[in-house]
Subunit: 144 residues, 2 copies
DNA sequence: ATTATTTCGGACATTTTTGTCCTTTATTAA
DNA sequence: TTAATAAAGGACAAAAATGTCCGAAATAAT
């Protein structure tokens, strides 16, 4: 469904949101530990999130990553997914046609558009804030 | 969503079904041409389908691949997917946890189980026969 | 029997994804 | 100013997925 990079991105963004709610910037090292991901690779992922203005990065001592609570409200999962994995989840075809296309649909097109639309809706409505609250309330977890 | 190998497998199986309805065995070369896939790689995929008793292969002149119309009725998409991609689509976690787990769910677990269940249902109810009929009726296509 | 055809299967090659290492740049604090 | 800290980013490495090549095995027709 998502690439590893995207999985790390989502988990990292949730952790950063969650820490920022408590006024704490977090470092790469903390993030990688918390979401159980390889440090250097996670760094690359975070750079992409930074360039896409999803997270804010601050260099130097007492620096780190943060996401203002104000914007955590507005950031949807879909923004993270497209930043890392591109828009294949939106325009791609389940059977690998260049683009999903109503005019010349692949064999599973009509079965899949329903599910894909549900997925789109989910990604476009779920915010980082929501996900971070679930973590805070102990109903979901960042690692197993 | 699916691996390339699985995409080829699904398309190949549909084409074989469709040809078998008309009493025609098809060769690897015909299949690869029809579904627009690399020949040798498609051969590997077909070998897996053969070992999983999803398609029937006959060596030698006038040999090729076939799927008895009788069984095309019973073969579900899910069988092909699990034969090629394993059961990650059923047990895997959207964010890469070892297994999806209600007791220690990942941050998107509750959002995704609905969609995954829909996907499961779809794969478990869609038969090769149905898909091959759509091809036959010209409402779906094997290549773009 | 011989030959031609077609799948099987092992070995290898390429590409993509994932992961690592190390230097540079920015920033803070002493 | 200097030293310490932390992200940025380039280069490289490993692993996985995808793709190719070629000979072996089975089968049918001649
Ligand atoms: S054409 Fe394949 S999913 Fe739409
Ligand atoms: S635990 Fe991640 S999808 Fe269920």
């Amino acid at each position: 469904m998502f690439s590893k990079a995207c999985e790390y991105a989502i988990k990292a963004a949730i952790f950063i949101t969650s820490s920022s709610e408590e006024g704490e910037r977090v470092s790469l090292i903390q993030i990688a530990k918390e979401i159980d991901s390889p440090e250097a690779y996670t760094a690359k992922v975070l750079q992409k999130l930074t360039k896409n203005n999803i997270v804010n990065s601050i260099k130097g001592p007492s620096g780190g990553f943060e996401i203002k609570p104000k914007s955590a409200n507005k950031i949807k999962l879909s923004q993270i997914v497209t930043a890392i994995d591109g828009d294949s989840i939106y325009n791609g075809c389940a059977l690998g046609f260049g683009k999903c296309n109503d005019q010349k649909p692949c064999p599973v097109h009509f079965q899949f558009i329903g599910i894909r639309n549900d997925l789109k809706a989910l990604l476009q409505t779920t915010t980082l804030k929501t996900l971070s609250q679930d973590i805070h309330n102990g109903i979901t977890f960042l690692k197993q």
